[in-house]
Symmetry: C2
Subunit: 202 residues, 2 copies
């Protein structure tokens, strides 16, 4: 039956949220439209009233995930956050173990390379935003590279730390933690020391 426009918009958002979560958890090819619809409390027919195809839903779910994670990272860290604060939040055991709500680049990175241009655009936008956040929060470091180079390298390197730590966790949890710790230590050096004293919130 027909529902109000508001309800329809809510349902659409539920589908995107469910897809975003399940794609990260099970992989884009690893979860079906039936399970996504069920997670959103709807039938798969409703999904096709909102999206032309699973691919279209995937593109929107990826974009949603990139924006969500970026917002959590940047706004969650608060004003006056340093690049080190971002690194601590991203390169962490907590993030490694929370794949369903974590960064889509780490959860679906290798699958994204096989998706279409729309998905690639969301990916690129997410990386640019992350790099911009790092750029604004960098400190001084004894590294012969421009600030933009350091910011881009940090945005890419942190993804590798989580991907590798996750892949190893099941067989060698100690090595997995060692990688997280090592990546954080080293990338913090790349990010550099704080330039200005931390401002108090409000």
């Amino acid at each position: 039956m027909k529902v109000t426009k508001e309800k329809a918009a809510e349902n659409r958002a539920s589908l995107v949220r469910a897809a975003s979560k399940l794609f990260r958890k099970k992989g884009i090819d690893g979860i079906g439209v039936a399970d996504i619809s069920k997670e959103a409390g709807l039938t798969h027919g409703a999904l096709y009233a909102q999206f032309a195809s699973k691919d279209e839903l995937a593109a929107e779910a990826l974009a949603y995930g990139f924006n969500k994670v970026y917002d959590d990272l940047v706004e969650g860290a608060g004003e006056g956050a340093t690049a080190g604060d971002y690194l601590d939040a991203y390169v962490s055991k907590k993030h490694r173990d929370a794949i369903a709500v974590g960064c889509p680049a780490a959860a679906s990175g290798s699958e994204v390379a096989r998706q279409d241009k729309t998905v690639s655009r969301s990916f690129a936008a997410g990386i640019e935003r992350t790099a911009a956040a790092y750029l604004a929060a960098l400190g001084d470091a004894p590294i012969k590279a421009s600030d933009r180079e350091r910011a881009l390298a940090l945005a890419a390197a942190q993804v590798g730390a989580i991907v590798v730590a996750r892949g190893i966790a099941k067989s060698n949890p100690r090595l997995s933690e060692e990688i997280i710790s090592a990546a954080r230590t080293v990338l913090r050096q790349v990010a550099g020391e704080r330039r200005t004293p931390k401002r108090r919130k409000n």
Copy 2:
């Protein structure tokens, strides 16, 4: 019909090679046993004479890929190679564009996290070997971290550079190249300057 033991072993190796290549190119869930068998010049029935399941083949194909890429990287760089040489080979446009023969950690990293323990063990072994190669080839750098920390961070960070560069390539090739270039510049600083003059080959 029955074939010689040698031929059977060759066929098994062909299946592993075909699977390794196609898993990297299309994803583990993105390619079927029929196509893998065809690529190896056999039928899917032959595949099941050699492997109990697609999962078992996946585990062996991943292990093969990790060993192959490690051998190519380390032995390909030659004696007296520096960590910078390894970085140049790994963090490159050439590697980004050769997904079917490139590092399985970058090609299937996010899928590996969803596979079983056997695959995780191959992954862990590959990362340990890579870190060991970096450890032996590090130079001095103004980074407050142990050599082991630097080696592990490099092994993980380089994966992120390729994953991110690939995900972005389809929509923003310039940004993709910028990331490869930035990651190489920055990670080279982490790897440090050459400690000993390069030995001449032979």
